[in-house]
Protein backbone atom coordinates (compact mmCIF):
# COMPACT_ATOMS: atom_id res chain seq x y z
CA UNK A 1 0.00 0.00 0.00
CA UNK A 2 2.75 2.42 0.94
CA UNK A 3 4.34 2.07 -2.49
CA UNK A 4 1.60 4.10 -4.16
CA UNK A 5 2.80 7.67 -4.69
CA UNK A 6 1.00 10.40 -2.80
CA UNK A 7 0.57 13.89 -4.12
CA UNK A 8 1.80 15.56 -0.95
CA UNK A 9 5.13 13.67 -1.19
CA UNK A 10 5.60 14.55 -4.86
CA UNK A 11 4.96 18.25 -4.36
CA UNK A 12 1.68 18.08 -6.25
CA UNK A 13 -1.69 19.46 -5.24
CA UNK A 14 -5.03 18.55 -6.74
CA UNK A 15 -7.30 21.60 -6.98
CA UNK A 16 -10.36 20.89 -4.79
CA UNK A 17 -12.65 22.69 -7.20
CA UNK A 18 -11.56 21.74 -10.72
CA UNK A 19 -9.22 18.80 -9.90
CA UNK A 20 -6.35 20.16 -11.97
CA UNK A 21 -3.02 18.68 -10.89
CA UNK A 22 -0.82 21.60 -9.85
CA UNK A 23 2.75 21.86 -8.67
CA UNK A 24 2.98 23.20 -5.13
CA UNK A 25 5.20 26.26 -4.81
CA UNK A 26 8.09 24.73 -2.83
CA UNK A 27 8.77 27.47 -0.29
CA UNK A 28 5.20 28.02 0.73
CA UNK A 29 4.64 25.01 2.94
CA UNK A 30 3.42 27.18 5.81
CA UNK A 31 1.49 29.68 3.73
CA UNK A 32 -0.35 27.29 1.49
CA UNK A 33 -3.02 29.87 0.84
CA UNK A 34 -0.66 31.66 -1.52
CA UNK A 35 -0.96 28.79 -3.98
CA UNK A 36 -3.71 29.51 -6.47
CA UNK A 37 -5.04 27.15 -9.11
CA UNK A 38 -4.02 28.48 -12.56
CA UNK A 39 -7.22 27.19 -14.12
CA UNK A 40 -10.06 28.18 -11.79
CA UNK A 41 -8.41 30.66 -9.44
CA UNK A 42 -9.38 28.79 -6.26
CA UNK A 43 -6.92 28.61 -3.39
CA UNK A 44 -4.94 25.38 -3.38
CA UNK A 45 -4.63 23.33 -0.21
CA UNK A 46 -2.92 20.04 0.42
CA UNK A 47 -5.69 19.26 2.91
CA UNK A 48 -8.95 21.05 3.50
CA UNK A 49 -8.06 23.89 5.90
CA UNK A 50 -9.02 23.42 9.54
CA UNK A 51 -10.75 20.15 8.76
CA UNK A 52 -10.80 18.74 12.31
CA UNK A 53 -11.96 21.92 14.01
CA UNK A 54 -14.63 22.71 11.44
CA UNK A 55 -16.00 19.19 11.28
CA UNK A 56 -16.13 18.85 15.08
CA UNK A 57 -17.85 22.21 15.43
CA UNK A 58 -20.45 21.46 12.77
CA UNK A 59 -21.03 17.96 14.09
CA UNK A 60 -21.58 19.20 17.64
CA UNK A 61 -23.91 21.92 16.40
CA UNK A 62 -25.83 19.32 14.39
CA UNK A 63 -26.14 17.11 17.47
CA UNK A 64 -27.48 20.02 19.52
CA UNK A 65 -30.17 20.50 16.87
CA UNK A 66 -30.81 16.76 16.66
CA UNK A 67 -32.02 16.47 20.26
CA UNK A 68 -34.92 18.95 19.96
CA UNK A 69 -35.60 17.65 16.43
CA UNK A 70 -36.50 14.29 17.93
CA UNK A 71 -38.09 15.42 21.18
CA UNK A 72 -40.26 18.24 19.84
CA UNK A 73 -43.23 17.45 17.63
CA UNK A 74 -42.66 18.16 13.95
CA UNK A 75 -46.27 18.26 12.79
CA UNK A 76 -49.75 18.93 14.22
CA UNK A 77 -52.76 17.17 12.75
CA UNK A 78 -56.00 18.76 13.86
CA UNK A 79 -59.53 17.60 13.09
CA UNK A 80 -62.96 18.44 14.50
CA UNK A 81 -62.57 16.66 17.78
CA UNK A 82 -58.91 16.07 18.38
CA UNK A 83 -55.49 17.62 18.03
CA UNK A 84 -52.52 15.34 17.59
CA UNK A 85 -48.86 16.33 17.71
CA UNK A 86 -46.51 14.00 15.88
CA UNK A 87 -42.82 13.52 16.51
CA UNK A 88 -40.62 11.87 13.90
CA UNK A 89 -40.87 8.52 15.64
CA UNK A 90 -44.65 8.63 16.09
CA UNK A 91 -44.96 9.52 12.39
CA UNK A 92 -43.00 6.38 11.52
CA UNK A 93 -45.20 4.28 13.79
CA UNK A 94 -48.36 5.70 12.28
CA UNK A 95 -47.07 4.88 8.81
CA UNK A 96 -46.21 1.37 9.96
CA UNK A 97 -49.70 0.75 11.38
CA UNK A 98 -51.91 2.53 8.84
CA UNK A 99 -50.04 2.86 5.63
CA UNK A 100 -47.32 0.72 4.27
CA UNK A 101 -44.59 -0.97 6.23
CA UNK A 102 -41.95 -0.52 3.50
CA UNK A 103 -42.37 3.26 3.46
CA UNK A 104 -42.23 3.25 7.26
CA UNK A 105 -38.86 1.51 6.99
CA UNK A 106 -37.64 4.08 4.42
CA UNK A 107 -38.68 7.01 6.61
CA UNK A 108 -37.19 5.35 9.69
CA UNK A 109 -33.90 4.83 7.89
CA UNK A 110 -33.82 8.31 6.35
CA UNK A 111 -34.87 10.30 9.41
CA UNK A 112 -33.58 8.39 12.38
CA UNK A 113 -30.88 5.95 11.33
CA UNK A 114 -29.08 8.15 8.79
CA UNK A 115 -28.48 11.10 11.15
CA UNK A 116 -27.39 8.71 13.92
CA UNK A 117 -25.10 6.91 11.51
CA UNK A 118 -23.58 10.23 10.45
CA UNK A 119 -22.80 11.21 14.02
CA UNK A 120 -21.24 7.84 14.75
CA UNK A 121 -19.29 7.57 11.49
CA UNK A 122 -17.96 11.13 11.41
CA UNK A 123 -17.10 10.92 15.12
CA UNK A 124 -15.20 7.67 14.54
CA UNK A 125 -13.43 9.09 11.49
CA UNK A 126 -12.42 12.26 13.32
CA UNK A 127 -11.04 10.43 16.35
CA UNK A 128 -9.26 7.69 14.40
CA UNK A 129 -7.75 10.11 11.86
CA UNK A 130 -6.60 12.43 14.58
CA UNK A 131 -4.73 9.55 16.20
CA UNK A 132 -3.14 8.81 12.81
CA UNK A 133 -3.91 5.12 13.12
CA UNK A 134 -3.76 2.91 10.06
CA UNK A 135 -6.57 0.77 11.44
CA UNK A 136 -9.17 -0.31 8.83
CA UNK A 137 -8.31 2.49 6.41
CA UNK A 138 -10.17 0.99 3.49
CA UNK A 139 -13.29 0.41 5.57
CA UNK A 140 -13.13 3.94 6.94
CA UNK A 141 -12.80 5.32 3.40
CA UNK A 142 -15.90 3.35 2.43
CA UNK A 143 -17.80 4.63 5.47
CA UNK A 144 -16.96 8.19 4.50
CA UNK A 145 -18.25 7.61 0.97
CA UNK A 146 -21.46 6.13 2.40
CA UNK A 147 -22.02 9.16 4.64
CA UNK A 148 -21.44 11.54 1.72
CA UNK A 149 -23.89 9.63 -0.44
CA UNK A 150 -26.78 9.24 2.01
CA UNK A 151 -26.47 12.69 3.58
CA UNK A 152 -29.25 14.61 1.93
CA UNK A 153 -31.89 11.85 1.98
CA UNK A 154 -32.69 12.86 5.55
CA UNK A 155 -34.51 15.90 4.13
CA UNK A 156 -37.30 13.43 3.30
CA UNK A 157 -39.36 14.07 6.44
CA UNK A 158 -39.02 17.83 6.07
CA UNK A 159 -40.51 17.70 2.57
CA UNK A 160 -43.30 15.37 3.77
CA UNK A 161 -44.30 17.88 6.44
CA UNK A 162 -44.15 20.76 3.94
CA UNK A 163 -46.35 18.93 1.43
CA UNK A 164 -48.89 17.74 4.00
CA UNK A 165 -49.17 21.22 5.53
CA UNK A 166 -49.88 22.68 2.10
CA UNK A 167 -52.36 19.92 1.21
CA UNK A 168 -54.42 19.27 4.31
CA UNK A 169 -56.26 22.56 4.66
CA UNK A 170 -59.90 21.70 5.12
CA UNK A 171 -60.64 24.48 7.61
CA UNK A 172 -62.28 22.99 10.69
CA UNK A 173 -62.54 19.46 9.37
CA UNK A 174 -58.89 18.71 9.08
CA UNK A 175 -55.63 20.65 9.17
CA UNK A 176 -51.92 19.92 9.26
CA UNK A 177 -49.43 22.48 10.56
CA UNK A 178 -45.65 22.35 10.89
CA UNK A 179 -44.28 22.59 14.44
CA UNK A 180 -40.81 23.76 15.58
CA UNK A 181 -39.33 20.25 15.55
CA UNK A 182 -39.22 20.28 11.78
CA UNK A 183 -37.05 23.42 11.75
CA UNK A 184 -34.56 21.78 14.11
CA UNK A 185 -34.60 18.68 11.95
CA UNK A 186 -33.94 20.65 8.75
CA UNK A 187 -31.03 22.40 10.46
CA UNK A 188 -29.65 19.03 11.64
CA UNK A 189 -29.58 17.77 8.07
CA UNK A 190 -27.90 20.91 6.71
CA UNK A 191 -25.31 20.94 9.50
CA UNK A 192 -24.44 17.25 9.11
CA UNK A 193 -24.07 17.78 5.35
CA UNK A 194 -21.71 20.70 5.99
CA UNK A 195 -19.82 18.59 8.53
CA UNK A 196 -19.23 15.70 6.15
CA UNK A 197 -18.17 18.17 3.44
CA UNK A 198 -15.59 19.82 5.66
CA UNK A 199 -14.06 16.51 6.70
CA UNK A 200 -11.05 15.74 4.54
CA UNK A 201 -10.96 11.99 3.72
CA UNK A 202 -7.24 12.29 2.90
CA UNK A 203 -6.68 12.49 6.66
CA UNK A 204 -7.73 8.83 6.90
CA UNK A 205 -4.65 7.91 4.86
CA UNK A 206 -2.17 10.33 6.34
CA UNK A 207 -0.65 7.74 8.65
CA UNK A 208 0.95 6.29 5.52
CA UNK A 209 3.57 9.00 5.76
CA UNK A 210 4.94 7.49 8.94
CA UNK A 211 5.07 3.99 7.45
CA UNK A 212 8.00 4.71 5.19
Amino acid sequence: MSTLPRAADMGLISCHVCRLVCRAVPDSEDTEVDNVCPRCGSALHRRKPGSYARTWALLLAAFMMYVPANLLPIMRTASLNDVDDNTILSGVMELWVNGSADLAVIVFVASIMVPMLKFLVLGTLLISSHRRTDWAQLQRAKLYRLVEFIGYWSMLDVFVVALLSALVRFNLLSRVEPLPGVIFFGLTVVLTMLASMSFDPRLIWDSRDSDD
Binding site: A7, C40, N98, Y152, M155, F159, P178
Partner: protein, 205 residues
Protein backbone atom coordinates in the same frame (compact mmCIF):
# COMPACT_ATOMS: atom_id res chain seq x y z
CA UNK B 1 10.04 9.82 -11.33
CA UNK B 2 10.38 10.51 -15.00
CA UNK B 3 8.96 13.75 -16.25
CA UNK B 4 5.24 13.51 -16.86
CA UNK B 5 3.12 16.53 -17.59
CA UNK B 6 0.56 17.25 -14.86
CA UNK B 7 -2.25 16.87 -17.41
CA UNK B 8 -1.42 13.18 -17.74
CA UNK B 9 -1.88 12.69 -14.01
CA UNK B 10 -4.82 12.67 -11.71
CA UNK B 11 -4.98 12.71 -7.96
CA UNK B 12 -7.57 10.80 -5.97
CA UNK B 13 -9.78 13.32 -4.19
CA UNK B 14 -10.19 11.01 -1.21
CA UNK B 15 -6.74 9.67 -0.41
CA UNK B 16 -4.29 11.87 -2.34
CA UNK B 17 -2.82 8.99 -4.37
CA UNK B 18 -1.34 10.02 -7.72
CA UNK B 19 -2.47 8.07 -10.77
CA UNK B 20 -1.57 8.17 -14.43
CA UNK B 21 -4.60 8.92 -16.60
CA UNK B 22 -5.56 6.28 -19.11
CA UNK B 23 -7.85 6.69 -22.08
CA UNK B 24 -11.22 5.21 -21.12
CA UNK B 25 -13.33 2.96 -23.30
CA UNK B 26 -17.05 2.39 -23.13
CA UNK B 27 -18.41 1.36 -19.76
CA UNK B 28 -15.08 1.65 -18.00
CA UNK B 29 -14.78 3.15 -14.56
CA UNK B 30 -11.45 4.27 -13.16
CA UNK B 31 -11.06 3.38 -9.49
CA UNK B 32 -8.36 4.46 -7.09
CA UNK B 33 -5.92 1.61 -6.43
CA UNK B 34 -5.52 2.71 -2.83
CA UNK B 35 -8.98 3.56 -1.48
CA UNK B 36 -11.35 2.39 -4.22
CA UNK B 37 -12.92 5.81 -4.87
CA UNK B 38 -14.17 6.46 -8.39
CA UNK B 39 -11.62 8.56 -10.27
CA UNK B 40 -13.45 8.98 -13.55
CA UNK B 41 -15.90 7.15 -15.74
CA UNK B 42 -16.36 7.02 -19.44
CA UNK B 43 -19.46 8.60 -20.86
CA UNK B 44 -20.39 8.83 -24.47
CA UNK B 45 -22.49 11.99 -24.30
CA UNK B 46 -21.24 14.72 -26.59
CA UNK B 47 -22.22 18.39 -26.09
CA UNK B 48 -25.18 18.14 -28.48
CA UNK B 49 -26.75 15.16 -26.73
CA UNK B 50 -26.13 16.77 -23.37
CA UNK B 51 -27.68 20.03 -24.50
CA UNK B 52 -30.77 18.16 -25.68
CA UNK B 53 -31.01 16.49 -22.27
CA UNK B 54 -30.67 19.79 -20.45
CA UNK B 55 -33.40 21.36 -22.60
CA UNK B 56 -35.67 18.37 -21.92
CA UNK B 57 -34.96 18.69 -18.23
CA UNK B 58 -35.87 22.37 -18.37
CA UNK B 59 -39.22 21.67 -20.10
CA UNK B 60 -39.99 18.96 -17.54
CA UNK B 61 -38.93 21.27 -14.70
CA UNK B 62 -41.43 23.92 -15.86
CA UNK B 63 -44.17 21.26 -16.00
CA UNK B 64 -43.25 19.92 -12.58
CA UNK B 65 -43.61 23.39 -11.07
CA UNK B 66 -46.76 24.47 -12.91
CA UNK B 67 -48.92 21.42 -12.35
CA UNK B 68 -50.22 20.45 -8.94
CA UNK B 69 -48.43 17.48 -7.38
CA UNK B 70 -51.27 15.85 -5.45
CA UNK B 71 -54.98 16.53 -4.91
CA UNK B 72 -56.76 15.53 -1.72
CA UNK B 73 -60.49 15.10 -1.44
CA UNK B 74 -62.57 15.16 1.76
CA UNK B 75 -66.40 15.16 1.74
CA UNK B 76 -66.52 16.79 -1.66
CA UNK B 77 -63.91 19.45 -0.87
CA UNK B 78 -60.67 19.40 -2.80
CA UNK B 79 -57.24 20.69 -2.03
CA UNK B 80 -54.15 20.52 -4.19
CA UNK B 81 -50.68 21.99 -4.09
CA UNK B 82 -47.61 22.73 -6.17
CA UNK B 83 -44.05 23.01 -4.92
CA UNK B 84 -44.45 26.76 -4.47
CA UNK B 85 -47.71 26.19 -2.60
CA UNK B 86 -45.77 24.11 -0.09
CA UNK B 87 -42.98 26.70 0.14
CA UNK B 88 -45.43 29.55 0.78
CA UNK B 89 -47.40 27.50 3.34
CA UNK B 90 -44.23 26.83 5.30
CA UNK B 91 -43.37 30.53 5.26
CA UNK B 92 -46.79 31.49 6.60
CA UNK B 93 -46.69 28.78 9.25
CA UNK B 94 -43.57 30.33 10.86
CA UNK B 95 -41.19 27.77 9.41
CA UNK B 96 -39.28 30.24 7.23
CA UNK B 97 -36.08 28.24 7.57
CA UNK B 98 -37.73 25.23 5.95
CA UNK B 99 -39.36 27.43 3.36
CA UNK B 100 -36.00 28.87 2.30
CA UNK B 101 -34.34 25.44 2.34
CA UNK B 102 -37.03 24.00 0.10
CA UNK B 103 -37.00 26.96 -2.29
CA UNK B 104 -33.22 26.82 -2.63
CA UNK B 105 -32.72 23.05 -2.92
CA UNK B 106 -35.82 22.28 -4.99
CA UNK B 107 -36.20 25.37 -7.16
CA UNK B 108 -33.37 27.90 -7.38
CA UNK B 109 -30.34 25.58 -7.38
CA UNK B 110 -31.78 23.04 -9.87
CA UNK B 111 -32.78 25.94 -12.13
CA UNK B 112 -29.38 27.60 -11.81
CA UNK B 113 -27.69 24.26 -12.51
CA UNK B 114 -29.69 23.67 -15.69
CA UNK B 115 -29.15 27.21 -16.98
CA UNK B 116 -25.41 27.12 -16.27
CA UNK B 117 -24.82 23.72 -17.85
CA UNK B 118 -26.99 24.69 -20.82
CA UNK B 119 -25.05 27.95 -21.25
CA UNK B 120 -21.68 26.21 -21.12
CA UNK B 121 -22.76 23.49 -23.55
CA UNK B 122 -24.31 25.96 -25.98
CA UNK B 123 -20.88 27.51 -26.45
CA UNK B 124 -19.05 24.18 -26.23
CA UNK B 125 -20.89 22.83 -29.28
CA UNK B 126 -19.67 25.85 -31.25
CA UNK B 127 -16.17 25.07 -29.94
CA UNK B 128 -16.10 28.32 -28.06
CA UNK B 129 -15.52 29.14 -24.44
CA UNK B 130 -18.64 30.55 -22.79
CA UNK B 131 -18.42 34.05 -21.28
CA UNK B 132 -18.04 33.75 -17.53
CA UNK B 133 -16.82 30.15 -17.87
CA UNK B 134 -14.66 30.06 -14.74
CA UNK B 135 -17.11 31.63 -12.24
CA UNK B 136 -19.93 29.45 -13.60
CA UNK B 137 -17.90 26.26 -13.24
CA UNK B 138 -16.85 27.20 -9.70
CA UNK B 139 -20.49 27.95 -8.79
CA UNK B 140 -21.56 24.60 -10.23
CA UNK B 141 -18.97 22.87 -8.06
CA UNK B 142 -20.33 24.48 -4.90
CA UNK B 143 -24.07 24.06 -5.54
CA UNK B 144 -23.59 20.45 -6.67
CA UNK B 145 -24.59 18.64 -3.46
CA UNK B 146 -27.47 21.01 -2.67
CA UNK B 147 -30.10 19.98 -5.20
CA UNK B 148 -32.67 17.60 -3.75
CA UNK B 149 -35.40 16.97 -6.33
CA UNK B 150 -35.05 13.20 -5.98
CA UNK B 151 -35.62 13.39 -2.22
CA UNK B 152 -38.72 15.49 -2.88
CA UNK B 153 -40.19 12.76 -5.13
CA UNK B 154 -39.82 10.20 -2.37
CA UNK B 155 -41.24 12.74 0.09
CA UNK B 156 -44.31 13.19 -2.13
CA UNK B 157 -44.82 9.41 -2.17
CA UNK B 158 -44.65 9.23 1.61
CA UNK B 159 -47.08 12.17 1.89
CA UNK B 160 -49.52 10.40 -0.47
CA UNK B 161 -49.43 7.20 1.56
CA UNK B 162 -49.88 9.11 4.83
CA UNK B 163 -52.81 11.11 3.43
CA UNK B 164 -54.47 8.06 1.91
CA UNK B 165 -55.65 6.89 5.31
CA UNK B 166 -57.91 9.90 5.78
CA UNK B 167 -58.52 11.38 2.32
CA UNK B 168 -59.18 10.52 -1.31
CA UNK B 169 -55.83 11.01 -2.99
CA UNK B 170 -55.28 11.72 -6.69
CA UNK B 171 -51.73 11.92 -8.01
CA UNK B 172 -51.51 14.91 -10.38
CA UNK B 173 -49.26 15.46 -13.43
CA UNK B 174 -46.72 17.33 -11.29
CA UNK B 175 -45.59 14.17 -9.53
CA UNK B 176 -44.99 12.38 -12.85
CA UNK B 177 -43.04 15.36 -14.15
CA UNK B 178 -40.96 15.24 -10.97
CA UNK B 179 -40.29 11.54 -11.43
CA UNK B 180 -39.06 12.15 -15.00
CA UNK B 181 -36.97 15.09 -13.82
CA UNK B 182 -35.28 12.85 -11.26
CA UNK B 183 -34.21 10.43 -14.00
CA UNK B 184 -32.85 13.28 -16.15
CA UNK B 185 -30.99 14.82 -13.22
CA UNK B 186 -29.42 11.46 -12.46
CA UNK B 187 -28.13 11.29 -16.03
CA UNK B 188 -26.46 14.66 -16.01
CA UNK B 189 -25.20 14.28 -12.48
CA UNK B 190 -22.85 11.69 -14.00
CA UNK B 191 -21.22 14.26 -16.25
CA UNK B 192 -17.59 14.64 -15.39
CA UNK B 193 -17.00 18.33 -14.79
CA UNK B 194 -13.34 17.80 -15.60
CA UNK B 195 -14.25 17.11 -19.20
CA UNK B 196 -15.80 20.56 -19.45
CA UNK B 197 -12.74 22.10 -17.83
CA UNK B 198 -10.47 20.36 -20.29
CA UNK B 199 -12.57 21.46 -23.22
CA UNK B 200 -11.62 24.98 -22.24
CA UNK B 201 -7.93 24.17 -21.94
CA UNK B 202 -7.89 22.93 -25.53
CA UNK B 203 -9.56 26.10 -26.77
CA UNK B 204 -7.27 28.52 -25.09
CA UNK B 205 -4.10 26.89 -26.43
Amino acid sequence: MTTISPEALQICEECDTVHRRRPMTHGQVGKCACCGATLEHYHSLNPNTMLALVLTAFVVFVQANLWPIVTLGLNGQHSSTTLWGAIITMWQANAQVISILAAVTLFFFPLLKMFSIGWLLWFARQRRCAPGFVPIMVTLHYIGPWTMSEVFVLGALVAIVKAKVYFDVVADPGIYAYAVLTVLITIFARVDMRELWEMRMKDST
